[in-house]
Symmetry: C7
Subunit: 97 residues, 7 copies
């Protein structure tokens, strides 16, 4: 089962991070700040401009993207996995190796 995002939507798998403090204490739940990076797993067909033209997205499947701290609140469950739904405008940039 997979999702086909509409228009300028991007589906992202949030990067897992060690939820521990510098001193090694495990941070439970809300205390741990979630990483705002992830891997793009699906992209929409593009942003629809006011004249009806479609602008292809600037990210692609497999990209590691950075997004705003407050952009990760829309989630869906696909095959038991929680994925983020972002607008392309929520994405700051792409991490390059």
């Amino acid at each position: 089962m997979k999702i086909r995002p509409l228009h300028d939507r991007v589906v992202v798998r949030r990067k897992e991070e060690e939820q521990t403090t510098a001193g090694g204490i495990l941070l439970p739940g809300a205390a741990a700040e979630k990483p705002n990076q992830g891997e793009v797993v699906a992209v929409g067909t593009g942003r629809v401009l006011t004249n009806g033209d479609v602008q292809a997205l600037a990210v692609k499947v497999g990209d590691t993207v950075v997004f705003g701290k407050y952009s990760g609140s829309n989630t869906i469950k696909i095959s038991g996995e929680e994925l983020l739904i972002l607008n392309e405008s929520d994405i700051y940039g792409v991490i390059e190796a």
Copy 2:
């Protein structure tokens, strides 16, 4: 009796889910989070652009769609069944098998 949605409106039958916790406790009313997936039962003719052109919708009748948690507050009753009225922009994507 059926509804013909206007423009970029989409009528969706919300997917029923078992309203039970992992431990099997039935969750009454507001405690149960409603599933934000559903089946498209009718679509409008398209979104009207500022220049008057009409852009066909990217979803079609029968599609299983995912929408925002807070998008399902507009409902209508058709033949006794409660259906959601969404704008296409409330829909994140289409679930594919």
Copy 3:
């Protein structure tokens, strides 16, 4: 006496419903939720686009329309009858038999 709505305005006669609960108790005033369906009694000439073109409305006199729960606050009295003034964008769709 009748009203000629301007532009994208639509005049609607709200559908009357039995204001009783399932158990047959009459609900007075605010306790009764008003039905958000009605019959179109007059339509404007169309929505004016930003380039000045006029887009004809997608509803016509006689249509049974469904509108948002919170859209029915603008009313006028014509020949003693209270009618709703809606924008076309307040209307979700048209009920078809």
Copy 4:
């Protein structure tokens, strides 16, 4: 002395109504709901579109218009008479005999 409204402004003389309840009690001041109908006494040259074109107004001097309950707060005094200043978009429609 008279006023020439600018652009899409419309000057309206509010219709006087008997400020009495059904039982004939005179309602003073704020208790009496002001009628939201009036006669157009002057109209602007038209609404300026974003491309600079001017769209003539859909109401004319002498029309009886219906407007929103909350649109009548801008008033001017011309020759001792209080008149309303509305935008055309505040006007729902024109009453026809």
Copy 5:
């Protein structure tokens, strides 16, 4: 010393009115409602449209204009005189003799 307003700005000298009640009591400070009429003393070159065209203003120096009650908060002092700075959109119309 004088001011050249930019674009769609209009400089207005507020009309002085007798600050007395009907009974002849002088109203001090905030109790006296300031008149929302004045004389145009300078106008900008015009409103810049989104396509870059400039639309000349519909008022000219010497016009007596009526403006919104809440539009007169931007003031400047020119040669010791307090003048209002309005946008043309704050102006309802021009008083004609």
Copy 6:
């Protein structure tokens, strides 16, 4: 060291005024209303319109400009001097001798 403002930004040196009351009392800090006039020390290349065209600014270096009372909160320090950063739209007009 100097600053090259971007687009429709304007750098202004706020005019110094005697911070004394009519009676000659020195007003400290917040009690003294800052003058909303100043001298333009640098201007951007122009405002970018929605179609990509650039509209040159209507003020130039050396102009004495008047701006809104609440527009002077963005400041930068250049060579130890505090300068204001305004948008051209914050500027009401130019004082001419």
Copy 7:
């Protein structure tokens, strides 16, 4: 590891300043106002206009830029270094030697 910003995003390394008061007291954490200047380390491909054209950014890698005091809240960590993500519109201007 580096970041490729999207569209009109600009990545900035905030300028370090001596976090001491005039009297030489070290200011810890929040008490020290962070400098709102920095060096551009990466720029996006440009701002997408409503007609789909792309407008190249007015800053380039290596520029020292000044930005709003309240614009520096979006940060990312690249190779252990905290960098700011700004929109070009957050940037007031470029400091020139």
